[in-house]
């Protein structure tokens, strides 16, 4: 089996799976890819192989995977600094994302960005953005260009609950609604802006209500349920694509790990984390698939083994890949070619 | 010990020309010191009475060392130590240190003994405002100084915190303070410094007209135009003067009179290198062109013989005097060849300062200038020439003489060569060469006769002039030599 395959058709044990089963297996595999990728990142970070700020998405995988189901290759993504999941499901090769973690020229940003700044022009992935709320105006603009050129595309804009407190959030929701731009706002509400609980920062904690006040359809979704996310995203994206103006999804989720590597995580109650872990999106989907007979025997272990092999290859390659020569330091401060 | 070149960090006292009790005036030559390059006369920049000679003959001391003390006119001999720092007591302590000679500097005599250490204050707190702590010293070592030195520093407006002590244990000596004051007072703009370098002027000898006496480019040009000697004498070199005329580097030279002196070969070596640099620069930067002529010298020599017959030996002329005279007049008549090429254009000299290439016994070359040569008759020119040659060979040239020639003559005829095609001294634009005066067959009025002739050559900077101008110059020289009585 090719380790590069995005969607496994089926496992050996599941004979002639239904389209639905195959779809579920694909979702499961994508969530596991994110999970295993980040687990390896923890390991590599601890070993001093990768550096900088690394923000983990573990626990929130259903959001990226579910929303991505609603997007076509023509659509665009504007993301945050917690964007490994978005990048991987968008189709940026694992090798390119891993190489970027290593700061190698083969990384998806040529090694310039690192964990927080994954970019990929081919998949219209307009970057991880390390300024909270900083990506929203970009998404507005990308969508504005599409609208002005009459292109039927959606720009999916991910951001966290922390961004809702930023002025840019309000400026952008207003402007997008005012100009009826094709943006799908995906608010990943994991309840904490770094260490600040939503309730400690927001007077109105129902974020969908706040978005709705700008005059766009907005609703909350269980972000731990990949199928629910997918369904909501499809509905919203179709509407956006159909000229329905911006839509807003509040995806209620939770990160199982600290804000970034080695955050002491003093602001959360351990029991709260344990409680949320009982809603692990991967476990939830796997259980549902087992119940439906879509996942049997050691199929899960087989996917894991497959992913482990794929990641091992990516890490090996990244380790051996070249670093950018220092002589290129100022390359791309300005475009190489001017008229 | 004055700084007589940027690369000079010590000098040897060769000779004292004054003794304690002598009255001296500003500008008087008081000593001769030997540097890596040449023996140089030290001029006093004070008027007063020599109080004490501190550095003995033969001693090599670092620049900035006090060589002697002078009581300035009007000062009472009995005034507090400030004016008589080098009193007899000064010689005592260093001598006690295992015979270390008295290079000791003023102020050091009062350096605190161990028991007085408590009296030593942190430097310059006096400048800090009351109630405000001075910024912590960046230099880790607290510099020690004596009350005398602190007094001097205050007088001269020197911040002791900025002075590096050269005395025992880093003690700041009076010389250090004077050195600091002198270096601070010397304000020369970057352009003026560069220009002075190009024109071979000592910026330290130029009167500055900028704010606080800063020397600016115009001052340097003015000094060159005025024939720098005046400026050179007006302000004697001071310790800490970092200006070094590079043309002089090529010219400053050793002297035969002190052949036995240690360091001579080193000096010959560095002079060789200076000449090498200058000549290489000339050939690198200056597109030379050459023209030459052969002149009948019979009229000139006949005139010379007649004149010499009637005067005592000391007033006789050698043919070179006539050749120099003719050159000086030609330089006045063809001013395009008399001056400097600097900053991509020609700056004419306002006077003719005739450089004369003088070869030194034991090797080397020096090209001091005869100032205002066009204004001197052959007798005066001859006297100047003899004086210059004698002093050059004795190592007694003054810096201004080494730096401001506007055109140079080389006369290798004395060595018996037929002709010489020379290398121009930058930033000058012309060099005139004379070969030996020799009898040659010469056609006159259709008949062949034997005449004394000389080959005159001109090497000139093609950036400044063309061959036509060079030809004109040699024609003027030729005409002048045919009418010696008018010279």
């Amino acid at each position: 089996m090719s380790p590069r395959r995005k969607t496994p058709a089926a496992t050996e044990t599941a004979a002639a799976p239904s389209p639905e089963a195959a779809h579920h297996a694909g979702l499961l595999r994508q969530m596991l890819l994110i999970r295993r990728f980040e687990e390896r990142c923890v390991e590599l970070y601890s070993a001093g192989e990768i550096h900088g700020f690394v923000h983990l998405y573990i626990g929130e995988e259903a959001v990226a995977v579910g929303v991505n189901q609603a997007l076509t290759p023509d659509d665009a993504i504007v993301s945050t600094y917690r964007e490994h999941g978005h990048a991987l499901v968008r189709g940026i090769p694992v090798t390119a994302v891993m190489a970027e973690m290593y700061g190698k020229t083969t990384g998806c940003s040529g090694g310039r960005g690192g964990s927080m700044h994954l970019f990929d022009a081919k998949t219209r992935f307009y970057g991880g953005n390390a300024i909270v709320g900083g990506g929203l105006p970009l998404a507005v603009g990308v969508a504005l260009a599409d609208k002005m050129r009459g292109r039927s595309r959606v720009t999916a804009c991910f951001f966290g609950d922390g961004a809702v407190a930023e002025g840019e959030f309000h400026e952008c929701l207003n402007l997008t609604a005012l100009w009826q731009l094709p943006v799908l706002f995906c608010c990943e509400n994991n309840l904490y802006a770094m260490g600040t609980a939503l309730a400690r920062a927001q007077a109105q904690t129902d974020l969908a209500v706040r978005a709705a006040s700008y005059g766009m359809p907005a609703w909350a979704v269980d972000g731990m349920d990949v199928l629910a996310v997918e369904q909501a995203a499809r509905h919203a994206a179709d509407a956006v694509r159909g000229g329905g103006g911006p839509h807003f999804l509040e995806l209620r989720t939770y990160r199982f790990r600290a804000h970034s590597m080695y955050d002491p995580d003093r602001y959360r109650d351990k029991t709260e984390i344990e409680e949320w872990k009982r809603h692990d999106p991967i476990d939830a989907l796997a259980a549902r698939m087992r119940e439906a007979g879509e996942l049997t025997g050691d199929a899960l272990a087989a996917i894991d083994a497959d992913l482990a092999a794929e990641l091992a290859v990516a890490i090996d390659k990244a380790r051996g890949d070249p670093l950018e020569p220092v002589t290129d330091l100022t390359r791309f401060v300005y475009s190489p070619r001017r008229p | 010990m004055p700084v007589l070149g940027a690369d000079m960090d010590e000098g040897t006292l060769v000779e004292w020309l004054v003794k304690p009790g002598d009255q001296i005036h500003k500008g008087d030559v008081i000593a001769v010191v030997d540097t890596a390059k040449s023996a140089i006369e030290v001029e006093s920049f004070h008027t007063g009475t020599v109080a004490e000679l501190i550095t003995p003959v033969g001693e090599t001391v670092p620049v900035g060392t006090v060589l002697a003390t002078i009581t300035e006119a009007g000062e009472e001999a009995g005034e507090p130590g400030a004016v008589k720092p080098g009193g007899p007591a000064a010689v005592g302590p260093p001598a006690a240190e295992g015979g270390r000679p008295a290079v000791a500097v003023a102020g050091e005599l009062a350096a605190p003994a161990a028991g007085e250490a408590a009296a030593v204050e942190a430097p310059a707190p006096a400048r800090a405002r009351p109630g405000r702590r001075p910024a912590p010293q960046v230099t880790g070592l607290p510099a020690h100084s004596t009350p005398l030195v602190r007094h001097e520093a205050e007088q001269l407006g020197v911040d002791l915190a900025t002075v590096r002590g050269s005395g025992r244990g880093g003690t700041i000596t009076r010389a250090d303070v004077e050195h600091a004051a002198a270096s601070r007072r010397r304000r020369v703009t970057p352009l003026a410094r560069r220009l002075a370098d190009e024109l071979g002027v000592d910026p330290g000898a130029v009167t500055g007209t900028g704010p606080d006496g800063a020397v600016r480019a115009a001052d340097v040009r003015r000094a060159v135009a005025a024939g720098a000697p005046a400026a050179g004498r007006a302000t004697a070199r001071q310790p800490g003067d970092a200006g070094r005329p590079p043309a002089a580097a090529g010219a400053q030279a050793g002297q035969a009179a002190q052949a036995a002196q240690p360091g001579r070969s080193r000096r010959a070596e560095s002079m060789r290198q200076a000449i090498a640099r200058l000549m290489a620069r000339s050939k690198r930067e200056i597109p030379h062109y050459y023209v030459s002529n052969t002149e009948d010298m019979s009229a000139a020599l006949a005139w010379l013989r007649g004149r010499n017959r009637s005067v005592e030996v000391s007033r006789r002329l050698v043919p070179a005097a006539l050749l120099l005279r003719a050159t000086a007049l030609a330089a006045r008549q063809v001013p395009e060849l008399n001056g400097y090429w600097t900053e991509d254009h020609f700056v004419p000299g306002t006077a003719v300062h005739l450089g004369v290439a003088i070869s030194l016994r034991g090797g080397g070359l020096i090209t001091p200038a005869i100032h205002h040569a066009d204004g001197l008759d052959p007798g005066e020119l001859m006297a100047k020439l003899r004086d210059l040659v004698n002093r050059a060979r004795a190592g007694r040239l003054r810096s201004s003489e080494l730096t401001d020639a506007t055109i140079t003559v080389t006369n290798l005829g004395d060595q018996g060569v037929e002709s010489v095609t020379g290398v121009i001294y930058p930033p000058q634009v012309a060099l005139v060469g004379f070969g030996k005066i020799a009898e040659r067959p010469w056609a006159v009025g259709g008949l062949l006769g034997v005449r004394p002739v000389v080959v005159t050559t001109l090497a000139a900077d093609h950036r400044a002039t063309d061959g036509y101008t060079g030809g004109r110059f040699l024609t003027v020289v030729a005409d002048l030599l045919q009418r010696p009585e008018e010279l």
């Binding site: - | 016994r361 040659v389 004698n390």
Partner: protein, 79 residues
């Protein structure tokens, strides 16, 4: 003045004028100017000094007689 005294006077003066060369090492018939590398000014100094010490008038026309040590000594010792 004896020729010996004259010889001594000439070599003394030459030593002062050209201290790095020893006139004692040159032959009596060698050309002084060439051997000691004297230029015209050196030679003038030489003549001047010689004239002063010997109390003799020396004209330019006499210069050829000062070309060598031997001829010089003879010239000075002469009438």
């Amino acid at each position: 003045m004896t020729p010996e005294q004259a010889y001594q006077m000439i070599t003394d003066i030459l030593r002062e004028i050209a201290p790095d060369a020893d006139p004692g090492t040159i032959g009596g018939d060698a050309d002084i100017r060439d051997a000691l590398e004297l230029d015209s000014l050196d030679f003038l100094n030489f003549v001047e000094e010689l004239s002063q010490r010997s109390g003799r008038r020396i004209d330019e026309d006499d210069y050829p007689q000062l070309a060598t040590l031997a001829s010089g000594a003879k010239f000075l010792a002469g009438p």
